[in-house]
Symmetry: C2
Subunit: 364 residues, 2 copies
């Protein structure tokens, strides 16, 4: 079972299933501000990628990284990685507001880019990132880990594709997180840097809602951010939610917050409910609360019965192998570039709309 008291350091490990020969696909790492970089590199390495060089302005972060990935060289600076022709992909988790500009530098250096979420924090960044992909022909992949690095989600994708619940008409997601205040860096509380809760945590949810409903886009019909408890941080939002209508007619809603209580055996009781015309799925991603500390539970109810699938260890994480092959073969099997950008664009739109309507209009 994965260690998961704290979401920021959750770095799932799966089965090693190399999709290339050793040394064929080299990865440079730039920006270690978020612990997600470990999950990203675990996934790539299990798919056969070789981590070769790492850079961050903070030597302590580099030392921590190279302790977990021995043999990875500490670069002199970012330019050394971008200038190394042997590196195909740059994996990155700097402070959120810096991820877009780094992506442009990476793609302009002729490399593919694999970025932690949220990949971008402003509409302008989204426009530039789209232009960068068009200009360079490079990939801008995003670690939407709550779908890509969760076996329950991988299993759900299969069930939906098999028609197990008919046509998807609604997706409801909840993304509670533990705040773990003492461990958070300053940028965590600065909206200009993390983008706001509907960007930081909401983009995960919107990506899942779009993906599971099979939609290409959506309209945000309502969104809200609020600070219920942590008002000592004026630019921090501890709650957000939004309603959506997909472009294919499906309905969506999600909420995200930082109120996971200390007694839960995971950083958050993340759920996804996927309703179809002929049945429904419930994903209990990180824990089956008060029943099983192990995650990756998928409940399926259809016209035949009720089924509880425990899928931990059964599906793996096919995203990473597909990403490596996509980069090598110039194919698009791991992700849809349009959807990756649209998800974060909608998250930014939801956040901006919520702020415009007034965060603190109604105070408890």
């Amino acid at each position: 079972m994965q260690k998961k008291a704290d979401g920021q350091n959750y770095a799932p490990k799966g089965k090693v299933a190399s999709v290339c020969s050793w040394g064929e696909f080299k990865v440079g790492i730039v920006g270690l501000d978020h612990g997600h970089i470990y999950g990203m590199c675990n996934g790539l390495q299990e798919a056969g990628a070789m981590m070769t060089m790492v850079w961050d302005p903070d030597p302590a972060k580099i030392a921590a990284f190279t302790a977990k990935f021995p043999g990875v060289k500490a670069a002199e600076d970012e330019a050394e990685i971008l200038g190394d022709p042997s590196i195909s992909l740059v994996a990155a988790a700097p402070v959120p507001c810096d991820r877009g500009a780094l992506g442009l530098r990476v793609m302009d250096a002729g490399k593919d880019y694999f970025c932690d979420k949220p990949p971008l924090t402003t509409r302008a960044d989204v426009g530039l990132a789209r232009q960068g992909v068009a200009r360079t022909g490079r990939k801008f992949a995003v670690y939407y880990s709550e779908r890509l690095h969760v076996e329950a989600s991988v299993f759900a994708e299969k069930l939906i594709a098999e028609g197990a619940i008919g046509k998807v008409i609604q997706v409801v997601g909840s993304g509670p997180h533990r705040i773990s205040l003492p461990t958070r860096p300053a940028w965590f509380f600065d909206r200009r840097k993390y983008g706001g809760i509907l960007v930081d945590l909401g983009c995960h949810q919107i990506e899942q809602i779009l993906f599971f409903s099979g939609a290409g886009s959506a309209e945000i019909t309502a969104s809200r951010v609020h600070s219920y408890k942590y008002s000592q941080f004026p630019d921090f939002e501890d709650f957000g939610d939004a309603s959506l209508v997909m472009d294919n007619g499906a309905s969506g809603y999600f909420s995200v917050h930082w109120f996971t209580p200390d007694g839960l055996g995971a950083w958050g009781d993340g759920r996804t409910f996927i309703q179809g015309t002929e049945g429904y799925l419930e994903l209990r991603k990180y824990i089956d609360v008060a029943a099983d500390p192990e995650g990756d539970h998928v409940i399926l109810v259809n016209h035949e019965g009720e089924y509880h699938h425990r899928v931990a260890g059964t599906c793996g994480f096919p995203f990473f192998g597909r990403l490596v092959r996509d980069c090598l073969d110039r194919t698009s099997t791991a992700f849809d570039q349009g959807l990756v950008f649209r998800a974060i664009e909608l998250a930014i739109e939801a956040e901006e709309g919520a702020l415009a309507r007034g965060q603190g209009k109604m105070t408890p």
Copy 2:
């Protein structure tokens, strides 16, 4: 365990706990169009009320009722019940659009009124009902059964009052129902008669969201109705959802629909998630899907741990005894008259807003 393949005929039975002497509190029954009337009368009878006279235009419905409640007299007409000075309360479940006018007649006859949900289907009806209560000093109680007749909800109310999860900041409800098409009367498919899905099923949800969040009112920030599957009935909506912001700052969302698959061992996997600043509750009301066919599960997570409470048979349904005593003593312990009306008014507002924005704007 209650029979619960079909929500319309779900009539919970609890413990008998008389709050008055036998014959002290007499009830007349008018309108048997919805099977909820059986749950309403069960609850009243368990609290010590005596069912004395029943009327409905359909003799078959009267025969079915008197078979279940022997000793209840079939009235000649509604007037016989309204004119009987021994009757204190009229319990009623006619077609939804007729419930408001009946309530006025009942209250003007000097009796209290206890009505199935949705109690009212238009804004005008709500205004008239409010005026009726003010004019007569009578009670207009509503059978919001998804809270009042569910032990999981009764238990949750206690936990919240004890501070088990801190201050409530969000309530999310889902109210899926089995459509059971062959059993449905014509009015079930006629929006002018049932009020639309956000009225018919949504009022339950809004009442719970207001109640559990401790709010007096709310703003509907988004609402939607749609017909995903049963388009052969042009005035029938098979899906609805809405987002709300409470007047005390809490957030709310609910969805309701008619897509419970045949394989579920209950008419619907109704859930309520109540998030507090210091913990959360999940109510699995009618079933613990794929785990326990019995309902009334309450999951509590707080800073100390995760707890699964199986509360079926432990709480009873205090609403009914309180209602009987309120009618006898002219107190207000069972329900808040303002909240009862505000819940249905918000449901009507959500439905009207959804229709105005266009039900079929995006068709799958």
